[in-house]
C-alpha cells in the first residue's frame, strides 16, 4: 500500500513538478507553468531533430500502439510508451538533469492485459532519446532506428520491452509518410487555445515475437506512433480525454479525440487518406457516443463506442478487445486495442484518461 502511495506522489512530481498548487485536470496537466516553452503555431517540423526530445517543453511522449495477430488468428495489442517530464526547462548533466522519464509497456489479448512501468532520471544514461542514430530507451526497454541512411529515422524501428509475465520484440516498417496532426502539426486542445505539437506515423507494418506467460508467439500486424510535446495541453476545466486511432481495412486512418469538460467537450479529428494526406476535420465533424460502460479497476469506463464522421460516411461501433485493458500505473488510465465494424471495419487503439 505504501508503495502505491509513493508512486501516486511521484506521479504528481512527474507531471506538475515545481508547483505549489494542488493538481488540476488529469494528472495535473491542466496547469500553466512558467519558464517552459509554449507551442508555436508557426513551427514546422524539422526531422530528425524533432524526433528527439524538446527539453524546454514540460511534457513529451513517444507513444506506439500495435494491433497484432498470431498464427492462429488470435488478436493481440501491444503498447510501448516513453514519457518525458521536466522539473525545469532545459538540460543538465548527471543527476543535475531536470528531466524525468517514465516508460509504460503493455501486452493485451482478449483474456489478459499485462503491463509494466519504469521510472528513471535523465542525465545519467538510464533513460532518454538520442536523435542520431535514433534511440529512445528506459533501462533495457528500447525503440531504436534501423533505417537505411538517407531515410527517415523512424521509417524502420526495433522495439522491445518486458515485464512480469510478458515480453515482446517487434520490427516496424513504415509503409507511408509521417503525418502532421491538427494545423500542420499544431494540435489545438481547447476552445481557449491550449495546444501541442503533434505528429504521427500511422502506417507501420509489424513482424515480431511476443512472449506471453512463457510462450513465444510469432505475430504480424500494424502499428501507429504518436509524437507529441507541449507545456500545457489541457485547459484547467478539462478532466480527461478519449482518444481513438482507427486503421481502416482500406488503408485510410482516422485520429480523433474528445477532451472532456463540464459541457459537450472539445472534439477534434484528422482524416488520413491511405496515401498519408491528412485532412483536419472542422469542429463538430466528429461524434463520439459511449454505448456501454464496464466496471474497470473500481471505475466505470466506456469500453464500447459509436464513432461517427458523416463527412467521410463513417459510422462504426468500436469495442475493446479486452475491456479490462487498464494501466494501473503511477498515472492510471485505460489503453487497449479495439475492433470496429459498421460502415467500415478495422482495428485500432483507444485511450481514455481521467475516469475516477
Amino acid at each position: 500500500m505504501r508503495v502505491k502511495g509513493w508512486l501516486a506522489i511521484l506521479a504528481t512530481v512527474l507531471v506538475c513538478a515545481g508547483q505549489e498548487a494542488p493538481a488540476q485536470g488529469f494528472a495535473g496537466m491542466g496547469e500553466a507553468v512558467k519558464g517552459f516553452a509554449n507551442p508555436d503555431p508557426s513551427h514546422r517540423f524539422a526531422f530528425p531533430a524533432d524526433h528527439g526530445a524538446h527539453p524546454d517543453f514540460r511534457i513529451e511522449w513517444w507513444y506506439l500502439t500495435a494491433t497484432l495477430t498470431g498464427p492462429d488468428g488470435t488478436d493481440y495489442g501491444a503498447q510501448w510508451t516513453l514519457f518525458r517530464t521536466a522539473l525545469r526547462p532545459g538540460e543538465g548533466t548527471g543527476f543535475a538533469s531536470p528531466q524525468l522519464w517514465m516508460g509504460h509497456a503493455a501486452l493485451t489479448s482478449a483474456e489478459r492485459h499485462l503491463f509494466a512501468e519504469k521510472l528513471g532520471r535523465g542525465g545519467v544514461g538510464q533513460a532518454g532519446v538520442k536523435v542520431s542514430p535514433f534511440a529512445a530507451w528506459i533501462d533495457d526497454w528500447q525503440m531504436i532506428s534501423r533505417a537505411s541512411p538517407g531515410a527517415d529515422a523512424l521509417s524502420a524501428l526495433d522495439l522491445n520491452a518486458s515485464g512480469a509475465g510478458f515480453a515482446y520484440r517487434l520490427a516496424l516498417e513504415a509503409k507511408g509518410p509521417i503525418v502532421a496532426q491538427g494545423d500542420q502539426g499544431y494540435s489545438v486542445k481547447s476552445a481557449a487555445g491550449q495546444a501541442s505539437h503533434y505528429y504521427s506515423q500511422p502506417f507501420y507494418t509489424v513482424t515480431g515475437t511476443i512472449t506471453l506467460e512463457g510462450k513465444d508467439i510469432a505475430v504480424t500486424g500494424q502499428a501507429w506512433l504518436d509524437r507529441e510535446w507541449s507545456s500545457q495541453p489541457l485547459a484547467p476545466d478539462q478532466t480527461g480525454w478519449d482518444w481513438f486511432s482507427l486503421k481502416f481495412d482500406d488503408g485510410a486512418r482516422l485520429m480523433g479525440f474528445r477532451l472532456r469538460d463540464g459541457g459537450a467537450g472539445y472534439l477534434s479529428a484528422t482524416w488520413i487518406d491511405a496515401d498519408g494526406t491528412p485532412t483536419p476535420m472542422p469542429p463538430g465533424a466528429l461524434r463520439l457516443t459511449p454505448l456501454e460502460e464496464t466496471r474497470v479497476a473500481g471505475r466505470d469506463i466506456p469500453v464500447c463506442w459509436r464513432v461517427e464522421l458523416p463527412q467521410k460516411a463513417v459510422d462504426v461501433t468500436a469495442a475493446a478487445l479486452n475491456p479490462q485493458s487498464f494501466m494501473d500505473t503511477t498515472v492510471p488510465y485505460w489503453e487497449g486495442p479495439i475492433v470496429f465494424s459498421g460502415s467500415h471495419t478495422g482495428r485500432g487503439y483507444l485511450e481514455m484518461t481521467g475516469y475516477e
Binding site: G5, W6, G94, G125, D140
Partner: protein, 794 residues
C-alpha cells in the same frame, strides 16, 4: 432463591469492607498498569520502527560496490540499468560542517523495501532536484553550519546522525566523484553474471538491527510479565481474603438453597463485574507509566541501537482492549483456586486454617520439585546453550525455578532456626513464622523476583558502566579531535597545528565488506598514544610492530566473536587478506570493525576522505587551542571536540540508556511491597486464632504485634539473602550469555555491595510499610475480638 438476591448479599460484603475492595482494585490495576504500560511502550516503539528503521533499512539490502572500493562511475550506473540491472544509486558521505552522514538517494529507482519514511512526511516536489531539501533529524538544523546553506527541513522520522537528500543534491554537496554503491532489491533477479570489477554484498541475517531492538523489547516484555505476575499475587491474596471472610455468608446462602454451581456462578459474575473496572483504571495508569518512561525508552533505543523513536505517545485502542482482557484473565487465574475450593466447600464445614496449611505443605514439595527441575534446566542452558534465546531461556528458568523453590528453602530455614532457638518465645516465633509461609509465599516469591531482578540488572548495568568508563578513558586518549570540511582545509589545519601539538594522528576510515557484512576499516598511526592506551583484549606477540608494518590487523570484539576468528586467522580485505594480531573492545558499536596501519588504509582505499585527526597536546592547553582553532578556521563547534566532553556525552547517553531499567526496577519492587501488604491483610483474619492463645497465656498485644512486625522483616531479609546470589547469577547470565549473543561483547562482572545495602534498606522499608498496617491493627485490637475466639464457633 433468586440469583440477583444472592449477588446483592455477596456484594454487600464490599460495602462493609471498602478497604478490601480498594485493595483488590489496586492490585489488579497495578498489575494491569505495569503490563499495559510496558506493552504501550513496546507498541509505540515498534510502530515507529516502520518510520524510523527506514534509512537503516538501506543497510538491509544487497549492494554492489567496485572491487577496489572506489566510487562507482556514473556512466557505469547507466550502462547497468540499460543492461537490465535493477540497481539504484546511492551517494553517501559525511555532511560537511556537521556530525551527520548525508545519504543521497534516487527515489525513482529506489527498491520498494527501502521505503525511507512516511511519504506524507516528505515533500517530494521540494526534494527531487538539485537544490532540493536536505532532511535532517529533529533538532539538528540549528547546530548545522553548512558551507552554502541548502534548504533544510527537520523531521522526526529520521534517525539521529543521518541527513537525507535527493541524489542530485547530495552529489553536489559532497562533490562526490561517483556513486558510493548501488542498491538492489532483496530478491532481485539478476540479468547476467556479475561483472568482474563489481562485488555484491548481501547483508548477513545476524546484522539486522531488528534483532537488536527485539532483544531490548524482549527485555521490556519480560519486565512487563514479571510486574504483572507480581501484581497478580496481590489479586490472589485479596480474592482469597474476600472468600475466607465470606465463608459464613456462603454457608448461609447454601443452606438457604443456593446450589454450589449457582454460588460459584455468582462469585464469577462478581469478579467479571470488578475486573473490567480495575482493568480500565489499570490501562489508564499504564498509559501514564508509559508516557513517563517513553522518553527514556526513546533515549535507550537511540543510545543502544541508533534507532529513533519519537518520545511521545500515541493512542492505540488495542491497548485498552488488551489491558482489559489481561485484567479479566488475570483475575480469573488468581481466583481459580478460591472458586475451586468454594465449589467443593462442604455445606457445614468449620474453619480449619491449619488443615489448609498442611494441604499446602504437600503442594510446596511438589512445587519445589518443579523448581529444582527448572534450575537444572537453567544450569544446562548456561553450560551448553547458544544464542540469545538460550540466554533468555536461562534467565526465565533460573528465575521461575528459584521462585518455586523459595517456600521450601524458607521452610527449612525457619525450621532450623526454631531448632536452634533456646527461648520459648523464640521457638514459638519460628514455628509461627513457618506456619505463615503458605499464606505469604506467593508474596515472598514476588518479592524475591523483584529483588533478584534488581540485583541482577543493577550488577549488569554497574559492570557495564565501570567497563565503559575505563574503556572511554583508553579509547579517548588524545586531548582533541578535529574534523576538517575539505581536503584543502585538512591540509591547512595540519600545517597550522604541527608546531602547536605533540603529534597529529589521522583518524581515517573506509567502508567495506568483511565476512559478508558491511564493516569499517580504520587506519591507525603507530604512536605511544595507542600502544599505551588502546583497550586490547587479546594480543599476539609484537602486535603493534606488525600492525605498524602493515603485516597484521586488529579486530573489534564483535567481529572477533561473531566471525569465530582466532589470532593468526586471515581476514579478507580489499587488496589482500591479513592475519589477526589483536582484539580490542568496542562497546556501543554494533558493526564489525578492523584496524590497519594508516599507510595500508590509504594504499588500499585511495579515495577515502582524509578529514579527521586526533591531536596530542598539553592537557592544560587543549581548551585554548580548541578555541583558537575554531576562530582561525571558522570551524563549527562540533568540528573540534575535546576528550572530556566526549566522555561526558558518552556517559550521559549511557545513563539515559539504563534509566528505564532503573525505573521499572523500583516499580516492580513497590508492587512486591503491595503484594506483601495484601497477603498480610489476608492472613490477619486467621492470625487472631493463632495469636489469641499466646496472648491469653501472658503476652501483651503490643509485644505480639512487635513480634509480628519483626516476622515480616525477617522473612523479607531472608528472601533478600536468597535473592542476592540469585541476582548475581542473573547478572552473570546477562553479561556472559545474553550480552554476547545480543551485542557481541562480553563484559567483566563487578559486584557492588554498597548497592546491596541500599537495596536491603529499601526492602526493609517496603516490608515495614507493608507490615505497618497489620501491626497497628493488632496492637489496637479490642480484647473482645481476641476473646471471641475462645467462645464462638467461627
Amino acid at each position: 432463591m433468586r440469583p440477583a438476591v444472592g449477588l446483592l448479599a455477596l456484594l454487600s460484603h464490599w460495602r462493609r469492607h471498602p478497604f478490601q475492595l480498594a485493595m483488590l482494585l489496586v492490585g489488579l490495576s497495578l498489575a494491569t498498569a505495569l503490563w499495559s504500560g510496558v506493552q504501550a511502550i513496546n507498541a509505540e516503539a515498534r510502530a515507529s520502527y516502520d518510520r524510523a528503521a527506514n534509512v537503516l533499512g538501506l543497510d538491509g539490502l544487497p549492494r554492489l560496490t567496485m572491487v577496489d572500493g572506489s566510487a562507482v562511475p556514473l556512466a557505469r550506473y547507466g550502462d547497468l540499468r540499460r543492461a537490465g540491472w535493477p540497481v539504484s544509486p546511492v551517494i553517501e558521505g559525511p555532511l560537511p560542517g556537521s556530525d551527520l552522514r548525508l545519504i543521497g538517494i534516487d527515489l525513482l529507482t529506489l527498491p520498494t523495501e527501502a521505503r525511507l519514511m512516511d511519504p506524507a512526511a516528505l515533500d517530494l516536489q521540494g526534494f527531487v532536484a538539485v537544490g532540493g531539501e536536505v532532511l535532517v533529524p529533529a533538532g539538528a538544523a540549528a547546530r548545522l553550519r553548512l558551507p552554502d546553506q541548502p534548504r533544510l527541513r527537520e523531521t522526526a522520522d529520521l534517525p539521529p546522525g543521518i541527513a537525507l537528500a535527493d541524489i542530485a543534491q547530495a552529489e553536489r554537496i559532497l562533490a562526490a566523484p561517483g556513486l558510493s554503491y548501488l542498491l538492489l532489491s532483496r530478491d532481485a533477479a539478476l540479468p547476467a553474471d556479475l561483472p568482474a570489477d563489481l562485488v555484491l554484498a548481501r547483508p548477513a541475517a545476524g546484522e539486522d538491527i531488528a534483532r537488536l531492538t527485539d532483544s531490548f523489547h524482549l527485555n521490556l516484555t519480560a519486565f512487563g510479565l514479571l510486574s504483572f505476575a507480581v501484581g497478580l499475587f496481590i489479586v490472589y491474596s485479596t480474592i482469597g481474603l474476600a472468600f475466607e471472610q465470606r465463608r459464613g455468608v456462603f454457608r448461609t446462602l447454601r443452606a438457604l438453597g443456593l446450589s454450589a454451581a449457582a454460588l460459584t456462578g455468582l462469585l464469577l459474575a462478581e469478579l467479571l463485574l470488578l475486573s473490567p473496572a480495575a482493568g480500565v483504571i489499570g490501562v489508564g495508569l499504564g498509559y501514564l507509566v508509559a508516557a513517563v518512561l517513553l522518553p527514556d525508552v526513546a533515549a535507550t533505543l537511540r543510545g543502544l541501537y541508533g534507532a529513533e523513536v519519537p518520545g511521545t505517545l500515541g493512542f492505540r485502542p488495542a491497548w485498552w482492549l488488551g489491558g482489559l482482557a489481561i485484567s479479566v484473565a488475570g483475575t480469573l487465574m488468581a481466583a481459580a483456586q478460591s472458586l475451586w475450593r468454594l465449589w467443593h466447600l462442604p455445606l457445614l464445614a468449620t474453619a480449619q486454617p491449619r488443615a489448609w496449611a498442611h494441604q499446602a505443605a504437600s503442594g510446596v514439595r511438589w512445587q519445589a520439585g518443579v523448581g529444582a527441575g527448572l534450575l537444572a534446566l537453567a544450569c544446562g542452558l548456561g553450560l551448553w546453550g547458544v544464542g540469545l534465546w538460550a540466554g533468555f531461556g536461562l534467565l526465565a528458568a533460573l528465575l521461575l525455578g528459584a521462585a518455586l523453590i523459595l517456600p521450601l528453602i524458607l521452610h527449612a530455614l525457619t525450621f532450623c532456626a526454631g531448632r536452634l532457638a533456646r527461648g520459648v518465645l523464640a521457638q514459638w516465633f519460628w514455628a509461627d513464622t513457618r506456619q505463615q509461609l503458605p499464606g505469604l509465599s506467593l508474596a515472598l516469591m514476588a518479592l524475591m523476583l523483584a529483588l533478584s531482578a534488581n540485583v541482577g540488572v543493577g550488577t549488569m548495568v554497574g559492570s557495564f558502566r565501570l567497563t565503559f568508563t575505563g574503556w572511554l578513558d583508553q579509547r579517548l586518549a588524545s586531548e582533541l579531535y578535529v574534523t576538517a570540511r575539505s581536503a584543502e582545509e585538512a591540509a591547512e589545519l595540519t600545517a597550522w597545528l604541527a608546531p602547536r601539538t605533540t603529534v597529529i594522528l589521522p583518524i581515517w576510515s573506509a567502508e567495506t565488506m568483511i565476512e559478508g557484512q558491511p564493516a569499517e576499516v580504520y587506519g591507525m598511526t603507530d604512536h605511544a598514544t595507542y600502544r599505551d592506551n588502546w583497550p586490547i583484549l587479546l594480543g599476539a606477540a609484537e602486535m603493534w610492530d606488525r600492525l605498524a608494518a602493515g603485516q597484521a590487523v586488529l579486530l573489534n570484539e564483535q567481529l572477533y566473536r561473531r566471525g569465530g576468528l582466532a589470532l593468526g586467522d586471515l581476514v579478507d580485505l580489499p587488496g589482500g587478506a591479513l592475519p589477526v594480531a589483536g582484539v580490542y573492545s568496542d562497546y556501543g558499536n554494533p558493526r564489525p570493525q578492523v584496524i590497519v596501519a594508516t599507510d595500508l588504509l590509504v594504499a588500499r582505499f585511495p579515495d577515502i576522505p582524509r578529514l579527521r585527526f586526533a591531536l596530542r597536546v598539553d592537557p592544560a592547553q587543549s581548551a585554548a587551542l580548541a578555541q583558537e582553532m575554531r576562530a582561525v578556521f571558522d570551524l563549527p563547534e562540533a568540528a573540534v571536540l575535546d576528550n572530556t566532553r566526549v566522555k561526558a556525552m558518552s556517559l550521559q547517553v549511557f545513563e539515559r540508556t539504563f534509566a528505564v531499567t532503573g525505573a521499572l526496577n523500583v516499580l516492580t519492587l513497590s508492587v512486591a511491597g503491595v503484594a506483601i501488604f495484601a497477603s498480610l491483610m489476608t492472613l490477619s483474619g486467621m492470625r487472631v486464632v493463632q495469636l489469641a492463645p499466646v496472648w491469653a497465656l501472658g503476652l501483651t498485644k503490643g509485644r505480639l504485634a512487635a513480634l509480628d512486625f519483626a516476622r515480616t522483616l525477617v522473612l523479607a531479609v531472608l528472601t533478600l539473602v536468597i535473592a542476592l546470589p540469585l541476582g548475581l547469577v542473573l547478572a552473570w547470565a546477562l553479561l556472559a550469555v545474553v550480552n554476547v549473543a545480543a551485542f557481541g561483547w562480553r563484559l567483566p562482572m563487578a559486584v557492588f555491595p554498597a548497592d546491596w545495602l541500599a537495596l536491603a534498606g529499601f526492602t526493609l522499608l517496603a516490608a515495614s510499610l507493608a507490615a505497618l498496617g497489620p501491626w497497628r491493627r493488632l496492637a489496637r485490637m479490642a480484647p473482645a475480638n481476641l476473646l471471641r475466639v475462645f467462645s464462638h464457633a467461627r
